[in-house]
């Protein structure tokens, strides 16, 4: 082999340039304009939101700025802080909004930096707001990256990567009204039999193991590795992705390890692990005949798996409708599957169970509801009043302890601030949720 000086040759970049596929500028332009529209709409929403926050919460800032915060705790930045002001002036874009199992809302915000982007400082900074118990709390605006895990107990675990720190560390915090408490990693594996954990999160920990599923103790702000799930990689492969878990301590997860068939795993609250074979077709592959497009859990402990036939390659036109199915595990321990009819070609489906056990499905064009908690027969129900079809297509269903919410998803091209959140307890009536206290 040649020596290092010869190997470190700009020919590598030149060959990569030559091999690069160059899409038409119009496609990039559309992407940028979409971002711009979203930002402008966010600005309008944020002005309303912040004005209300300031008027309602402004006098109560002192109540959540603790002088006795433990070392390492990050205090909320108050409604007059930098992020709140940036949102108010339209200089911060809202991103994902995550509905907690207790109905609290965590919204991510991004801002093109304080300095010129071509200065030494990297241009993008992020923060987030937490709406809980009738108040909105604003984080500092100083993070390079944010990942959010919703916990079964209703709280959130937030992974924050510091801006311009060397090395840039990823630190985890419990986010609640008192501020951001740093999470301590315990050396011992999780004692699941104790049953005192508040939920699970897929965390990226250095140096070893690099990633894993951890059990979170919110009160003590600790995280312990779940040794019962070694080397399990959630299907959507993203720390901070939402692990389907129920408030009685059950976790459902897809194991998708290399060279093994994908499996559905259930981790009971006492640590017992059950394994289920997935229906034929397996997971999202290239190309595939059947794709898993959603995994969540009902509050009564059943997994909700949504499948769509056909490849997910949306670059091919025309996009044709595809059959949509829902699977769950029966009391006998087998996987049962029900056909839900046809879904639009660009499959953006989601499902969540109502408090009474019936299932709601958003197939991208219509809302469906099962007639019973057996999830066998489905009927079309009305979408929230005044919600255009376009917005329904861009919204996802998320279950909370006592309702199901329709949340606009930036992943589906939606803008959160321009689109209210709607929640229902039965699917018959939908209540718009004002994100402001």
């Amino acid at each position: 082999m040649r020596d290092l000086d010869e190997l470190l040759d700009p020919v590598v970049s030149r060959k990569a340039s030559a091999a690069a596929r160059t899409p038409d500028f119009a496609a990039v332009e559309r992407r940028g304009r979409q971002r711009l529209r979203r930002a402008r709409a966010a600005a309008v929403g944020a002005v309303v939101a912040v004005a209300a926050v300031v008027s309602v919460v402004g006098a109560q800032v002192a109540s959540y700025r603790s002088d006795t915060a433990p070392a390492g705790t990050i205090e909320w930045d108050g409604p007059n802080g930098e992020l709140a002001r940036m949102a108010e002036s339209g200089n911060a874009d809202s991103g994902d909004v995550i509905v907690g199992t207790d109905g609290s809302l965590l919204t991510e915000w991004g801002h093109l930096g304080r300095t010129d982007p071509d200065a030494e400082q990297s241009p993008f900074v992020h923060g987030f707001s937490l709406a809980v118990d009738g108040r909105t709390y604003w984080s500092p605006l100083e993070y390079q990256d944010i990942e959010v895990s919703r916990l079964a107990s209703g709280g959130f675990l937030v992974g924050l990567t510091e801006k311009n720190a060397e090395p840039a560390p990823l630190a985890y915090y419990i986010a609640d009204a008192s501020g951001l408490r740093p999470v301590e990693l315990t050396d011992d594996p999780a004692d699941l039999k104790s049953g005192h954990y508040d939920g699970y999160a897929w965390m990226y920990i250095q140096p070893d193991p690099p990633v894993g599923i951890y059990a979170i103790d919110v009160e003590n702000a600790t995280a312990a590795l779940v040794s019962e799930l070694p080397r399990v990689i959630p299907d959507n492969n993203d720390p901070g992705s939402q692990l389907p878990q129920t408030d009685d301590g059950e976790l459902w997860i897809i194991s998708d390890q290399p060279d093994q068939p994908a499996k559905l795993l259930r981790l009971a609250s006492d640590g017992r692990l059950s394994t289920y074979a997935l229906p034929a077709g397996g997971l999202r592959r290239w190309p595939v005949q059947e794709s898993l497009i959603g995994l969540s859990a009902s509050q009564d402990g059943r997994p909700i798996l949504l499948w769509a036939d056909g490849t997910l390659d949306t670059s091919s036109r025309p996009v044709v409708p595809r059959p949509l199915r829902v699977s769950t595990v029966t009391t006998a321990g087998t996987i049962s599957t029900t056909v839900l009819g046809m879904a639009p070609g660009e499959v953006r489906a989601s499902a969540a169970a109502l408090p009474d056990g019936r299932l709601l499905v958003n197939n991208g064009a219509r809302l469906l509801r099962s007639s019973t908690d057996a999830w066998q027969d489905f009927e079309t129900i009305a979408a929230p009043e005044r919600m255009p079809a376009k917005q329904l297509r861009r919204s996802v269903l998320t279950g909370t302890a006592d309702s199901v919410c329709l949340t606009p998803s930036p992943d589906f091209g939606a803008n959160r601030s321009g689109s209210p959140i709607y929640c229902t307890v039965d699917g018959d009536t939908w209540d718009p949720i004002d994100l402001t206290p």
């Binding site: 190997l7 700009p10 970049s13 340039s17 690069a20 332009e29 010129d116 241009p123 290239w286």
Partner: protein
């Protein structure tokens, strides 16, 4: 909206930026995507973009930042595993350079970035410093440590191959 300026920069710089980001991201598709996203943000912030002294450096900084953010998530391997199922464009590299790219992926992120931008993308140190948001001295230190580490990795691979 007047995007003509962004369009001109796109025509002039897109491929070069993808080449520069290839070493940083370690994957051509990823490099294409972060550069396209950087241009989308230039469209979004067109007025600000026009005022920058060096639009290409602005785009490079944005793209490096996007790549950095994605790398941590991509390290898990699952994405690569999935990508193995789909045909992708690949640069036509020699066997030695393929080995170099594999070795680069084993470097700490900060070292990999500066090695890729300085040695593979042929950027001067001060431009690398701008792109990664670090002082020039820090970049030089990372280059030194990164080269030493890279040499060790390549030696180990070579020995393993002969063994």
């Amino acid at each position: 909206m007047n995007d003509e300026f962004v369009r001109q920069v796109y025509a002039a710089s897109y491929r070069r930026l993808v080449g520069q980001l290839y070493g940083v991201c370690g994957d051509l598709s990823e490099a294409e995507d972060v550069v396209q996203e950087a241009f989308a943000r230039a469209v979004q912030h067109e007025r600000k973009f026009r005022r920058t002294d060096n639009p290409e450096a602005w785009l490079r900084t944005v793209a490096v930042n996007l790549c950095r953010s994605r790398w941590r998530r991509r390290i898990l391997g699952d994405r690569l595993q999935r990508q193995a199922h789909r045909p992708e464009a690949q640069p036509d590299l020699s066997a030695d350079h393929v080995m170099l790219m594999a070795a680069l992926k084993q470097l700490p992120e900060a070292q990999r970035q500066v090695i890729a931008l300085h040695h593979l993308a042929d950027l001067p140190v001060h431009e690398v410093a701008t792109a990664v948001g670090a002082p020039v001295g820090t970049v030089k230190a990372r280059l030194s440590r990164g080269r030493a580490q890279l040499a060790r990795i390549l030696n180990d691979r070579e020995e393993a191959r002969h063994a």
